[in-house]
Each structure stands twice: as structure tokens, then as C-alpha cells.
């Protein structure tokens, strides 16, 4: 039997997307829908003196203008975990006061019969302010820098090992450099959008979110209503990249506005301005790195000090040092995180928060170190290769990074690299090669899956998680198809609706790694139930066989040693007069260091599993959880993971061409060799890695948000001024996988591939540019002007 696992099959939802049938949050055809447009503060700090809405309210077609004067009262939501609901700005509940904390803060919603009227009415609203002096630049004397206790989810951001000072003074070769990365915006193709419909005291919300359950909880808490009064629907998301991980104001403003005018209301953030102020961003970072080695290039000490920004209404840390503690072996380590509060919106996770910018700075520093040591950059990484996790001494669940370096070097033609920078030409262009290590944690958490196998011979599984464009629908169907022995077109995976049992939020590259094992266990449970039916049934050709002796393929159950002896799922259920066989399974394994101790409940609590899914509130008339004593769940959860570290790795190799006169840079080729465990779908996995590389090209060459130095208002406020890579910037991509099944992460063996692609790539490009030009630019992006100097 040819397994469907790993096959590069097309997305199951592809036809829906290209025919416009895939419904996104702003596209639902809701009867009597009104259009809400939000308007934003044009000052950076102070108070609203008055909002004059009279002209807008008089306009024909305007249904209401909601401001702090008339908006309903909200309840504080202080949780910080996006899976259970995280409002991005906990101290700035929308429309609860006249205070202004940043330029671009929502201050009113204009609701009208049509979008055009709402837009025109919005332009008629007159706002007067009492301005105060803002602090929006870290260089202002009023800017206060402090050290945060921890990062998102309790991650350690201040990490010390050994004696970094002593290690540095023992070093024979040292480097010290500072690297700057600008503010980045996520720019998902789909803007943040919410439609809200009240029916009596129950609320249905169509939202664009990476945390369907989290937003449901956040909305019900903030409105002060019971969670079971809110249903959140989000079957398709047009990209998030972290910006839809926390909940932003639009998700609560739409329900408030719908209540306000007693009609369904839709709010879509405008690309211009709004998507650059009210939907999160990645903080800038200033990263100071010290590296010290012995004569042979072995690291004796590593220091990585990061400064990033947050707002006055919440704290979010961009922990650039997070990968530094485990990427290479070093006895002495000092990771420091500083943060500054500014009058700007609150930053939030952005694809590989910490790692994306951290691996840029650190892996460029390694390149500088290699040059100083006169050691090949690949060799320097091999000298400092960490066989065990340097952070805790644990073994890695599966690490095949050496193979990645080897394959990457071969595929890019590393032997063509001239060690002397700025000295090799191809035609009129300077040519350069660079490389870097990629790494990202292999996260996994808890998921509950309900699965039904129907008499007709098809199966449907449901779990309230998300497909943020990454392929969850398709890949989970492949896991189902494989475990049930059904053709791919006979299985369907449903997600993105809180009527389904709770699955993970889409953050930390965990969706597939978390949901996959639960889908697998549910499928195997149902398959086992049907086999038990058959072997007990005298009329079945499988009668009296042992369960182990039976295989399934293409929907047919047969004796493995005699495949003529068998019958289909459909035949068994028809004879048994059962319309369907179903189960509900929860798997709960945490691979995160901070949560490991409280997880692995089987080993801790002796298998108490069933029912935990219900507590989180997703079960609306669903079946009983059958996880307790379930052999498939036990097989997964009984595995001792206490001394195992879970990380993915990879190697990024890049070739660039640089015009020596105009200094325009062309990334010519990107080779990404990724070690992310078992590949479930080669096509979607490759797309993830390629997407990460495109993000990296953006970071390296063009992206960066600019704030006006006099007002603190965003300058690069649309996609004409904030550049992201376009087709013409695309290099040749060569993405390869080690495809080694990770026996520790889950019986599925797959680790997430969503974020690792953005790690290392920016450094590899920057290192290649140095190799081409001999110019080391340490503040991103590397634009032509910086090479001309």
C-alpha cells in the first residue's frame, strides 16, 4: 500500500478558494448587514476633547456613530494565553475612555447602510484633542528602558549560564557588534475583519483569527456574557503571520456596534493606515552580540542583549535571544532582554517571534566570527555543533542538522564561494554566497477531535482549530485517510467553528503537530470499533480474526495475509444497521519547556484524560470523550518526554548578485534544507518554507516601517510605501527535507514547518551580500543606498 503521508497532493480547499466559494470573515452574506468604519486618533498622546458626530449622523443612510461617549461597558480580560483568549491591548479596552495612547488608536465606529456612506460619514466627524507630549522614540530622554520578567507564555528572556564575562576574557578571538532590525508589519492578504450577528442574547461572530476558541472566550468575557452564548466561525483565514494571534479591537467593536444599532454589523480594517496601526507589528530590535572563541573556533562565551519596544497598554517582548540559548554549544551564556514603553500600538507575535530577528543578528555575527577566525562558516558551525540541547542538557527528539549543512552546501555550490569578499563577478554582477542555521521549537499542545465514520463509507472529523492558509484541511485529511484506510476523497476535516471540540490556536507552528496526533488517535479508535464489530459478527468474512490481523485499504478491511478475505466499512455498518460509528478523542502533550511539567498527564495523573476537553467549553451536544484508557492515546501520552528537547533545524544557503554601480541586489538562489520530522504533504510543507524565505527576502532587502520623527505617526502606511517582495524578486528555490520521522513528538512524527523557514534566511542573504560586496550592513533592510556609502 502506497501511503498518502507525505504525498504532495493539492489542497482540498483549493477549488473553493479559486472559485470564491471559500468564505472569509468579511464575505458572509448576512441579511440586513450594516457597514462599520472605524476612525482613528490623529494625535499620539493625550485626551479627546470632543468628538462632533452631528454632521455624520445627519447624513442619509447613517445608522449610528459609536464613541467612548455612548459605547457599552466592557469587562477586562487579563489573560495572556492566545489559546484561551488574549486581547492584544489589555489596558486599552476600546471606547471606554477619552484617553489616547497612540496615533492610529480607534476612537469611533461609523455605521451605515452602505460602505460608501459610512466612509463619507467618517470624513465628516470632527475631533478635537488635548495633546500631551508623547514618547515614541527610544532615543527620547523620557523613554524608560527596563528588563521584563518573562516573554509570551512564560518564556525565559533573561538567561545566564556559566560565567559569560570570564568566558569572554578567556577567549582568544572575540567580536562585538550591534545589529538593528526595523519595525515590521505582517501584511496578511486578508485584512482583519469581523461580522457580528446578535440573535436575542446569543451572538455569532465571523472573524479572521488564528485562535477561534481564544477569540470566542475573549469576546464573551469582554462583553460579560456566558461563553456558550457566543459562536465564532472562521473557516478560512487569508494569512495572519501572527497578527491574528491576539485579538484586536475590530473583533469586539463589531459585536458592540451590532448591539448598538440592533443590526448585524461588519467591520473591515482598511489597508491604508489601519492595518499599520491597529493590527499589531513586530517591534524593532537593537541587538548587541559578543562572541568569544578559543583558537580552534570553539565558543567560550556568548552574549546577546536585545532591546525592543512595547506600548503603554500592554507588554509584548520580541525575544531575539530565544534561539541563542540552544543553537550552539557554549559553556558561558548571557542573554539579556530590555524593553521600552512607547506611545505606539502594542506589538505582537510575528512569524517566528524572537527567532526571525534573533537568528538574523546571531548568524551574521557567526559569519563575522568565521571571517575573523579564517574558518569556513559551515565549519565554524560544525565546530560548535550542539549534540544535546545546551539549555538543559536534554537529548533532542531528532536532530539531523549536519545532513542539512552538507546537502545545502552541495546544492548551492558552496565550493564556488570565494573566501575573499567583493572579488568575484558573474557577467556585470558581483556574486556572493552566504549561509546560516535555521531553528525553531517543535511545539505541541492539546487537541480534541470528534470523528464520524458513516455507513456510506466516508468519514468526517472536526476540531476547532484553524487553517490560516497553510494547509490544515488537506494535511489532516491525509492523516485521516492514512489511519482509516480510506481514499482521500472519502475523508473530510472540518475546523474553524466553536461548535467543534477545541483544538489548538495557530501560533508557534503547532497546529499540525498538535491536531495530527488527535486526528490519528480518533481515526484508529473508530477503525478499531468497526473491526471489533466485524470480527464478532458471524456473517462477516472477518469473523473470529484477531484485530491485529486486519488491514484496511481503500475502505476495505481484509485479513493481512489473505487480502481476498474482507469487506468494506460500508458493508459492516450496513449489516449492523449503524448509520455511523463515532468517537471523540483528546491528546494532551506539551513539548514546551515551560509547560512540560504540568503536561504529560498520563504519566502524572495515571491516564485521567477524558472530560478535559469539555472544560474548555466546546462541546455542544457532542459525544463523550473516549480518551481514557484508549490504547492509541496511551501509546502517545505514555511516552516519557521529560528528558527530551523538541526543536526543528535547518540550513539556509543563498547566492546573490549585486550590481556594482547601482547596488541593486538580486537574490539569485535560495537553498533551504529543513529537518522538521515526518513530512505529511511535501507540497504544503515546501510552500511554508518558500514563504518563509520570501519573508526573509523582505526582511533582508526592503521591509521596514517608518514612524515620523516629529509626530510619531506611521509614515509607511500602505503597500506602496511598505514594500514586500514581488514576483520579480523571486529567486530559484530549492527546498529539501530530511524527512526523518520524529518518534518522540507524536506517533505521527511530524513537527511544525510554519515558522522555521523565516529563521536564518535573512542572515544567509546578508552574509551573501557581504561576500559579494565586502560591505557589512548591520541595520536592515539592506537597500542600495547603504551599499553605496
Amino acid at each position: 500500500m502506497d501511503s498518502i503521508i507525505g504525498k504532495p497532493i493539492d489542497r482540498k480547499d483549493g477549488p473553493l478558494k479559486v472559485t470564491g466559494k471559500a468564505m472569509y470573515a468579511a464575505e458572509w452574506n448576512i441579511p440586513n448587514l450594516a457597514y462599520g468604519i472605524t476612525i482613528q486618533s490623529t494625535i499620539t498622546k493625550g485626551h479627546i476633547n470632543n468628538i462632533d458626530t452631528s454632521a455624520a449622523e445627519k447624513l442619509k443612510g447613517v445608522l449610528g456613530v459609536m464613541t467612548y461617549k455612548n459605547a457599552m461597558q466592557l469587562h477586562t480580560l487579563s489573560g495572556s494565553d492566545p489559546s484561551s483568549g488574549k486581547f492584544a491591548e489589555k489596558d486599552l479596552l476600546p471606547f471606554q475612555s477619552e484617553r489616547i495612547f497612540y496615533n492610529g488608536q480607534h476612537i469611533a465606529v461609523v455605521i451605515a447602510e452602505t460602505f460608501e456612506v459610512a466612509e463619507h460619514a467618517a470624513s465628516l466627524i470632527k475631533v478635537t484633542y488635548n495633546e500631551e507630549k508623547p514618547v515614541f522614540d527610544i532615543n527620547q530622554p523620557e523613554a524608560k528602558i527596563y528588563q521584563p520578567q518573562q516573554g509570551l507564555g512564560g518564556t525565559q528572556v533573561q538567561v545566564k549560564r556559566g560565567d559569560a564575562e570570564q568566558g569572554m576574557s578567556n577567549a582568544s578571538t572575540k567580536i562585538e557588534q550591534t545589529y538593528n532590525t526595523p519595525v515590521y508589519h505582517h501584511n496578511p492578504m486578508e485584512p482583519h475583519a469581523t461580522s457580528a450577528v446578535w440573535n436575542g442574547d446569543t451572538l455569532t461572530v465571523y472573524d479572521a483569527t488564528q485562535s477561534v476558541f481564544g477569540n470566542k472566550n475573549a469576546i464573551s468575557t469582554m462583553l460579560g456574557i456566558a461563553p456558550d452564548k457566543v459562536r465564532l466561525i472562521s473557516p478560512f483565514i487569508g494569512g495572519g503571520f501572527g497578527s491574528k494571534g491576539f485579538m484586536w479591537a475590530n473583533s469586539i467593536l463589531a459585536p458592540m456596534a451590532a448591539k448598538f444599532i440592533n443590526r448585524p454589523v461588519k467591520i473591515v480594517l482598511e489597508r491604508t493606515g489601519q492595518m499599520f496601526t491597529c493590527a499589531g507589528r513586530r517591534s524593532f530590535t537593537i541587538q548587541k552580540i559578543n562572541l568569544g572563541t578559543d583558537n580552534g573556533g570553539k565558543l567560550t562565551s556568548v552574549k546577546h542583549e536585545t532591546t525592543s519596544e512595547t506600548s503603554f497598554v500592554d507588554e509584548f517582548v520580541e525575544p531575539a535571544g530565544v534561539a541563542t540559548k540552544m543553537i550552539y554549544a557554549t559553556p558561558n551564556l548571557d542573554i539579556t532582554q530590555n524593553i521600552v514603553r512607547l506611545n505606539k500600538g502594542t506589538p505582537c507575535p510575528t512569524r517566528a517571534p524572537g527567532e526571525a530577528v534573533g537568528t538574523y543578528a546571531f548568524e551574521v555575527a557567526m559569519d563575522e566570527l568565521a571571517e575573523k577566525l579564517n574558518i569556513d562558516p559551515v565549519q565554524l558551525r560544525l565546530i560548535n555543533y550542539a549534540e544535546k540541547n545546551p539549555d538543559d542538557g536534554h537529548r533532542f527528539s531528532s536532530k539531523n542538522l549536519k545532513e542539512c549543512y552538507e546537502k545545502g552546501a552541495q546544492s548551492i555550490g558552496w565550493s564556488n564561494r570565494n573566501i575573499k569578499p567583493g572579488s568575484t563577478k558573474e557577467g556585470n554582477f558581483l556574486v556572493g554566497y552566504g549561509m546560516a542555521t535555521a531553528t525553531y521549537p517543535a511545539n505541541r499542545s492539546k487537541a480534541t477531535v470528534r470523528l464520524k465514520l458513516y455507513q456510506e463509507g466516508n468519514a468526517v472529523a472536526a476540531c476547532c482549530t484553524q487553517d490560516i492558509g497553510t494547509g490544515t484541511y488537506t494535511v489532516m485529511a491525509q492523516v485521516m485517510s492514512d489511519a482509516l484506510g480510506l481514499p482521500i476523497d472519502k475523508v473530510e476535516f472540518k475546523l474553524g467553528d466553536t461548535i467543534y471540540p477545541q483544538g489548538p490556536n495557530s501560533g508557534g507552528s503547532q497546529t499540525m503537530a498538535t491536531t495530527g496526533p488527535a486526528v490519528r488517535a480518533a481515526a484508529l479508535t473508530v477503525k478499531s470499533k468497526v473491526i471489533k464489530l466485524a470480527v464478532a459478527d458471524k456473517k462477516s468474512p472477518l469473523y473470529n480474526q484477531t484485530e491485529d490481523a486486519i488491514s484496511v485499504d481503500e475502505g476495505k478491511l481484509f485479513v493481512t495475509s489473505d487480502n481476498l478475505k474482507g469487506e468494506t466499512y460500508s458493508q459492516i455498518l450496513t449489516r449492523a444497521k449503524m448509520p455511523l460509528v463515532e468517537t471523540e478523542i483528546t491528546t494532551n502533550v506539551s513539548t514546551r519547556e515551560t509547560q512540560k511539567s504540568e503536561s504529560n498527564p498520563t504519566t502524572k495523573q495515571g491516564g485521567e484524560q477524558g472530560g478535559q476537553g469539555q472544560q474548555s467549553g466546546g462541546q455542544q451536544g457532542g459525544s463523550k470523550d473516549e480518551s481514557k484508557d484508549n490504547p492509541f492515546v496511551k501509546q502517545d501520552q505514555d511516552l516519557d518526554r521529560s528528558n527530551v528537547a523538541f526543536h526543528s533545524f535547518g540550513a539556509q544557503f543563498v547566492k546573490v548578485l549585486v550590481d556594482p554601480l547601482t547596488c541593486m541586489i538580486k537574490v539569485d538562489k535560495v537553498v533551504s534544507i529543513m529537518d522538521v520530522g515526518q513530512i505529511l504533504n511535501e507540497k504544503t510543507a515546501k510552500s511554508q518554507i518558500m514563504g518563509g524565505a520570501i519573508f526573509g527576502i523582505g526582511m533582508a532587502l526592503m521591509e521596514g516601517s517608518v514612524y515620523d520623527e516629529n509626530t510619531g505617526r506611521i509614515v509607511t502606511r500602505d503597500l506602496a510605501d511598505y514594500l514586500v517582495p514581488v514576483h520579480a524578486d523571486m529567486p530559484t528555490f530549492d527546498v529539501q527535507f530530511t524527512n526523518v520521522k520524529d518518534e518522540f513528538i507524536s506517533p505521527v512524527g511530524a513537527r511544525g514547518a510554519g515558522e522555521i523557514g523565516i529563521t536564518g534566511i535573512t542572515a544567509a542573504i546578508a552574509n551573501a551580500i557581504y561576500n559579494a560586496t565586502g560591505k557589512r550592513v548591520r541595520d536592515l533592510p539592506i537597500t542600495p543606498d547603504k551599499l553605496i556609502v
Binding site: 466612509e119 463619507h120 547601482t662 547596488c663 515620523d708 516629529n710 502606511r717 514576483h727 520579480a728 524578486d729
Partner: protein, 325 residues
């Protein structure tokens, strides 16, 4: 967006008449810039006059060998036109270096000439901008001015003209034909756009009610050897940091004919007359190209974030001229 009246004109006279009123009116061709500006409340016309039905959609060769381009010829069509590609490859290249395929399919020749600056502060209605709101000041001069002008700036405005097509047109010595209620007149391309001076809100010499009907490029053989190079932050769909259009004719190692224009450096497409004069009859050497570039940029003035453009403009001029040899 402010509510407005839409009118469709079926003839040139009708269009001119509709625009010759006291209220604010705008002609709309492809709308690729005007609609953006209306959505952002930057342009607030009372009347939008649709001119896309006017018979100004042909590219024709006149008896004297000139090429007449109707003002409604779409950018895509103009770039793909066989005569243009043969005689003035630089024009085709310049157009194809601008915007995106979808935009070029909509954008017209006349509209391209009339497009407005991409200055961030011009586009943000909360910012001070003498172009948008005369007398309010200029936030760009002390603000983020990386994409701004280095030549011909004033104390009121440092915006650039964003067109690629116009740089090639200026280099080719084209003429703009306009029609108004007093009839037709002809304006040299290099005279059409104005430097900001004290009135950055007045961007061209076009009078109220006048409509661009065509652009005429005079015949000249040596412009077959021409090239457009655009330096920008990404490979496509970005405005120029600096661009150069040039044509060169060399005879016996010395320069017989040369034309150069720069984009992304001024409030108008910048014809490099000084560099051209310097190079005439000079020997073809990289050094001479650089000296000519130095001559052209002698009066250039950089601001906090855009001084690099001075060096970049010189390098790009040299790069293009070298390739044309």
C-alpha cells in the same frame, strides 16, 4: 470619499466644456491614481468627467516621421507598440518599469503625465503639505524624506514626480498637445511640469478646462540606441529612487549625440541638459561620463534621508551611458 457627480464625455469639445466651470472637476482616464486620491480625501472633485470614450486612442506615424500618441493610449498598448519599440525602445522600457501589469492596462498616456507625487505626507491628510493645502507647511522637509527630490526643490516642497514614462518622454524631446476652449496649443515636455517654487500646488502649466489630447515625439534616429534604468528597493512595482533614460550616438570614439533625463530626483522629469552639453563631442570614457554626471548634480541638495540619491544618480548615469556605448 466625498460624493461627486459623474459625467461621461463623448467628444473632446464636450469634455472641455464640462471642465470649464467654477466647480472642481477632474478628467478620469484609467483612474489608477485619481481614484486612490479620492478615496484618501486628497482629491475632492465635485465632478468627474470620464474621457475614456474620446477618440484619442491611436499611435500614428505623421508625415514628417513624428509619432503621435493619443492621450488615451493605455500604457500597456504604448509599451507594446511596434513603432515605439523600434524607434524609441527607451519609452517602452520606461513604461514597463512602472506600476504593474494590471495598472498599465488601465493607465493612460495623459493620466500618466498628470499623476501626482507619492510623497507620504501628501497622501496623509493629517500631515502638513503645501501641495495639498497651500500654506500649511511641509512635513517632509524635516521628516522622513528618503524618496524625495534633490534637484529643483524649494522651501515649500521637496516632492518628486513619480512617472517613469515621463522621464523617457522628456529625454526624447516630446511635445504635449493640449486643447482648451481657446483651441489647441503645444507645450514642450520639459516645460509642462513645473518646479515647486512657492506654489507646489500648481504642478503643470495646464489651464483649467484644458485636456491633453496627444503627445508627439519628433523623429530622430539616434534614440534607437537608448536605455532606461530604474534603481529601486525591489525589482518591480516600486517607485524609482533614481532612474535614468538616455540615448547615445558615438562616432569615431567621440559623442555625436546624447540625451539624458533623470527620474525620482525632482518635482518634474529632469532633463540633464548640463550633462548633455558637457558630453557633446567628448571622448567616450567612463571618466567623462562621471564628470558629466558631476556637472549635472553640482547643484543637487540632499536632505536627512535622501542624500544618497546624489551619488546614486551619478552612478546610474554612468551605468546607463556605459551600456549604451
Amino acid at each position: 470619499m466625498k460624493l461627486f457627480t459623474y459625467k461621461q464625455a463623448d467628444g473632446v469639445d464636450e469634455a472641455i466644456k464640462a471642465a470649464s466651470t467654477k466647480t472642481i472637476s477632474k478628467f478620469i482616464g484609467g483612474g489608477t491614481n485619481l481614484v486612490d486620491l479620492m478615496r484618501e480625501n486628497i482629491e475632492q472633485p465635485d465632478t468627474v468627467i470620464d474621457v475614456t470614450h474620446l477618440p484619442l486612442t491611436d499611435v500614428e506615424e505623421l508625415e514628417d516621421g513624428s509619432i503621435k500618441i493619443g492621450s488615451l493610449v493605455r500604457n500597456s498598448h504604448l509599451a507594446a507598440n511596434k513603432i515605439i519599440r523600434e524607434k524609441f525602445p527607451v519609452l517602452s522600457q520606461a513604461i514597463l518599469n512602472g506600476a504593474s501589469g494590471q495598472l498599465r492596462n488601465m493607465a493612460t498616456t495623459g493620466g500618466n503625465i498628470m499623476q501626482r507625487t507619492r510623497c507620504y505626507y501628501f497622501y496623509d491628510e493629517t500631515a502638513c503639505c503645501n501641495k495639498r493645502n497651500p500654506g500649511s507647511g511641509c512635513d517632509a522637509i524635516d521628516g522622513y524624506n528618503r524618496i524625495h527630490a534633490i534637484l529643483g526643490t524649494s522651501f515649500t516642497c521637496i516632492a518628486t514626480h513619480p512617472s517613469d514614462m515621463c522621464v523617457a518622454m522628456a529625454m526624447l524631446g516630446a511635445k504635449i498637445i493640449v486643447e482648451g476652449k481657446n483651441g489647441e496649443r503645444e507645450i514642450a515636455f520639459t516645460d509642462f511640469h513645473k518646479l515647486p517654487g512657492d506654489t507646489p500646488n500648481i504642478e503643470t502649466v495646464l489651464q483649467q478646462g484644458e485636456l491633453i489630447t496627444s503627445v508627439v515625439i519628433p523623429p530622430q534616429d539616434f534614440t534607437k540606441n537608448s536605455l532606461y534604468r530604474k534603481v529601486r528597493d525591489r525589482a518591480s512595482y516600486a517607485f524609482a529612487l533614481v532612474s535614468v533614460a538616455a540615448a547615445l550616438e558615438v562616432e569615431n570614439g567621440s559623442i555625436k549625440n546624447v540625451r539624458i533625463a533623470l527620474g525620482g530626483v525632482a518635482h518634474k522629469p529632469w532633463r540633464a541638459f548640463k550633462a548633455e552639453n558637457y558630453l557633446m563631442n567628448k571622448e567616450v570614457t567612463e571618466e567623462n561620463f562621471m564628470l558629466a554626471a558631476e556637472e549635472e548634480l553640482k547643484d543637487a541638495k540632499g536632505f536627512e534621508h535622501n542624500s544618497f540619491k546624489i551619488g546614486l544618480a551619478k552612478r546610474t548615469m554612468v551605468s546607463v551611458l556605459k551600456e549604451l556605448v
